[in-house]
């Protein structure tokens, strides 16, 4: 009964999505206020029924209902409760239900928070979100039904992929989807602007907080994924330029660019067309990411051909959404016609450079991700593009960008008084120079020109971001307003992440060795001794656990317990690294495999400042939060007066 309720809920949600798309859009076109007012109850109803479907899936998992195929394939009697819940989005069908739940959530949030918006705009935004929902609900119901029954019911389930049995990864998809799907909101705003042919500064002010909110979730979600890869994939890398990672990173890059052009559109009424294009591109890249991850194309272009329904559906959906949006963009000119310009040295210029460089990075990553797929699909050979390509094409635009970030955030709108600007930048430049040189020469030891430049850039971004808050604390400057705080904090986070990346890339140490019991290995002054291997039983796995004593100059530092797990049901081995996390560095030990004669292959790593990579991302997210909380975005009261 429970799965059927879920199924019916999804169908009802689809009906409401259709109503949400048809009535408000038709009403906005015909000027029918009552039709437009249907948007809000429809949005609320769609959320309610999607949530009910999600709850029914959750109940099926908790009750071990193995007569539901999806549950039978991705759960197990021994699976701990937390992971039974996370298993809902542990595979294709359920993750789409989560996707749709989040989309309904964003839609309802827009409906709730948009009282101050003009009725036509509100109706159009919600209508477009309804259209997107139709696409995804149809996708679920036609190709990926999670409530499909299995007859006869399985006695026990096939278990969740052991890689996913981890707290961080349980949280990763919801956060990432909040970001991905959140980009549908600026997309809907952009389409509404194109439909009405009006794009003004108020439009940008309404769109901004939604964009920033989506970006915030995307930032934290990506960081969480990177952290998970670091400790769970077992081998200490934190970014692999894997197509799945790129799929989430490209919308982030486009979304970041969008957030910045929106600032120009709001404050100065400029860059309207770029903003629209970026809003379309950012959501398009989210859909593309979904296609890449969910269609099986990445497993093999040919595997996609053997099960075409799902991939084809998303591809057609992507083509319709993007094609429609771009056609609308081509034929409707909604860009504000600016009467004003700006000088060469101004914040507008800096943000234009920012947009160009971020877009270039997006295109280059996109190229490296799609080219092998295209070549394979055309049967022109199987190639893969290695990380060095991505590293280079990413650093190439990022290095100048980081320099511009530091300088640009202190430039004034319209035209900058160059002398005053120089005076403002003097202190952070000096601080960055000193900190960069001291860190890269005295603390860590010189490691090449490029690393030195990287250190200086990171220090420069942090120092420039902290300039105004520090001046305020020293009572030499005004108190920054909330949105400026947000910007400074986020840029500081960017600098912190950059610092972590540079330091861990340049001074991280990595050693693979064969280690017999009792034998020890010295890495960067630390002594790692493999004391013994013991057997450990988990709730649904057995593990061989190494006991590794770490000491420095004969004094014990810590004991690490790396594990090699074998999960009972799927019988797949998993490496669980032993990590001593610290501010200065992480000590990292992972067990490879038994080599015979009491020896194991062991990977030992020292990762200086690796935590800063994720900490910086959290700081960026915090910056986004501060920016949204600025009073100017609370559109109640004042907003309605502005109409």
């Amino acid at each position: 009964m429970v799965p059927e309720i879920g199924q019916i809920s999804l169908a009802l949600a689809l009906c409401l999505a259709v109503a949400l798309a048809v009535f408000p859009l038709a009403g906005a076109h015909a000027g029918n206020a009552r039709w437009m007012d249907a948007a809000r109850p429809c949005a609320a109803g769609m959320l309610a029924f999607t949530a009910l479907a999600f709850a029914m899936l959750a109940v099926s998992f908790f009750r071990h209902d193995f007569s539901v195929q999806y549950v039978a394939l991705h759960s197990n009697l021994k699976l701990p409760a937390l992971y039974r819940f996370a298993a809902i989005w542990g595979a294709h069908e359920g993750s789409l239900v989560l996707w749709q739940l989040i989309l309904s959530g964003w839609t309802a949030a827009v409906a709730l928070a948009s009282r101050a918006l003009p009725q036509v705009l509100r109706a159009r935004v919600l209508g477009v979100l309804g259209l997107v929902s139709i696409g995804f609900l149809l996708f679920i119901l036609l190709t990926s039904n999670p409530f499909l029954r299995l007859f006869p019911a399985a006695a026990d389930g096939a278990d969740l992929n052991p890689l996913l049995q981890d707290p961080a990864l349980a949280m990763h998809p919801p956060l990432l989807y909040m970001g991905y799907v959140g980009l549908a909101v600026p997309f809907a705003f952009a389409i509404s602007a194109l439909l009405s042919g009006r794009l003004d500064q108020r439009w940008a002010r309404w769109t901004r907080p939604w964009t920033t909110a989506a970006w915030m979730f995307l930032t934290v979600g990506i960081a969480l994924g990177s952290w998970w890869a670091y400790y769970e994939l077992g081998w200490g890398g934190w970014w692999f330029w894997d197509p799945v990672e790129n799929a989430s990173f490209m919308p982030w890059l486009a979304g970041t660019a969008l957030m910045h052009t929106l600032a120009v559109t709001e404050r100065r009424g400029l860059f309207g067309n770029i903003t629209l294009l970026l809003a379309i591109a950012a959501f398009g890249l989210s859909l593309l990411g979904t296609f890449l991850v969910r269609s099986g194309v990445l497993v093999s272009v040919h595997a996609f051909a053997s099960d075409p329904a799902r991939g084809l559906f998303i591809l057609v959906f992507l083509a319709v959404v993007m094609g429609g949006a771009l056609l609308l963009y081509a034929f409707r000119n909604a860009g504000a016609n600016p009467q004003t310009g700006f000088r060469l040295v101004s914040r507008e210029s800096a943000l234009l450079v920012n947009t160009v460089l971020l877009s270039a990075a997006t295109v280059l990553v996109l190229f490296g991700t799609l080219y092998p797929l295209a070549l394979d699909a055309l049967d022109m050979g199987k190639i893969s593009v290695g990380p060095p390509y991505f590293n280079l094409v990413f650093i190439l635009p990022m290095l100048p960008l980081l320099l511009v970030v530091g300088a640009g955030m202190h430039a004034s709108w319209k035209a900058t008084d160059t002398a005053a600007w120089g005076r403002k930048l003097r202190a952070p430049a000096a601080a960055a120079l000193i900190a960069g040189i001291v860190l890269s020469v005295a603390v860590y030891g010189f490691a090449g020109i490029l690393t030195g430049i990287g250190m200086l850039t990171a220090a420069w971004v942090i120092a420039a971001a902290l300039r105004d808050p520090v001046a305020w604390l020293l009572r030499r400057g005004p108190r920054p307003r909330r949105s400026a705080w947000g910007m400074q904090v986020a840029h500081c986070g960017l600098g912190v992440t950059t610092l972590g990346i540079v330091v861990v890339s340049a001074w991280g140490v990595e050693t693979d060795r064969s280690l017999a019991l009792g034998e020890s290995l010295e890495v960067s002054g630390y002594e790692f001794q493999l004391e013994r291997i013991e057997d450990v039983d988990g709730p649904n796995y057995q593990a061989a656990q190494g006991v590794v004593q770490v000491s420095r100059n004969g004094r014990p530092v810590t004991t690490l317990y790396p594990q090699k797990r074998v999960y009972e049901v799927q019988q797949s081995p998993m490496t669980e690294a032993g990590i001593d996390a610290g501010w200065r560095h992480d000590l990292f030990v992972a067990l490879g495999e038994p080599l015979g004669e009491d020896a194991w292959s062991v990977r030992v790593q020292i990762k200086p400042l690796v935590r800063l990579i994720w900490l910086g991302a959290l700081i960026m997210g915090l910056g986004g939060f501060l920016a949204i909380s600025d009073r100017r975005y609370r559109a109640t009261g004042t907003g309605s007066k502005e109409q």
């Binding site: 290695g386 064969s514 490496t575 490879g592």
Partner: protein, 148 residues
């Protein structure tokens, strides 16, 4: 004349920078593009010697040989027609097994041994490395073939 000349200068330097960046990107792309070869192709000498490439197939049963006290390991990879010996020094991936699919990145050495610097196995129990599955299929074997 002067502002015009300045604009010309700015545009020229911009174009030079763009051209340099494009050249750099294309070189990086060219150098990091790894082509996939089958053991049969390598045995036939189709694969360029000394260039980095990928080879894939199934690990032959009882072919894994280790050098005691080190991480050096050799194993044979087959496409069910021909096989090639792969030499590697490092930690093998969790899902590396005899009889199952594997992809190695590296170079063909002078003695016909493939010197790998990276070895990849399946992501989980359900999937083969895609290149290997496609290759087996093209050679008329089931996509998920494994050695007995």
């Amino acid at each position: 004349m002067k502002p015009r000349r300045r604009r010309m200068m700015a545009m020229t330097s911009g174009l030079v920078c763009l051209a340099a960046a494009t050249a750099l990107v294309l070189t990086a792309f060219e150098q990091n593009m790894l082509y996939f070869y089958t053991p049969t192709e390598i045995a036939a000498g189709v694969a360029p010697e000394g260039k980095r490439l990928r080879v894939g197939g199934l690990v032959e049963r009882d072919s894994v040989r280790r050098t005691p006290g080190s991480l050096e390991v050799r194993f044979d990879v087959t496409d069910l027609d021909r096989s090639i010996t792969v030499a590697y020094a490092g930690v093998l991936p969790d899902l590396f097994r005899e009889g199952q699919g594997v992809v190695a990145h590296g170079r063909v050495g002078g003695n016909g041994v493939f010197e790998a610097d990276e070895v990849l196995a399946r992501h989980d129990e359900n999937y083969m490395p895609p290149e290997v599955a496609d290759m087996l299929e093209e050679r008329g074997h089931p996509r998920d073939a494994s050695l007995p």
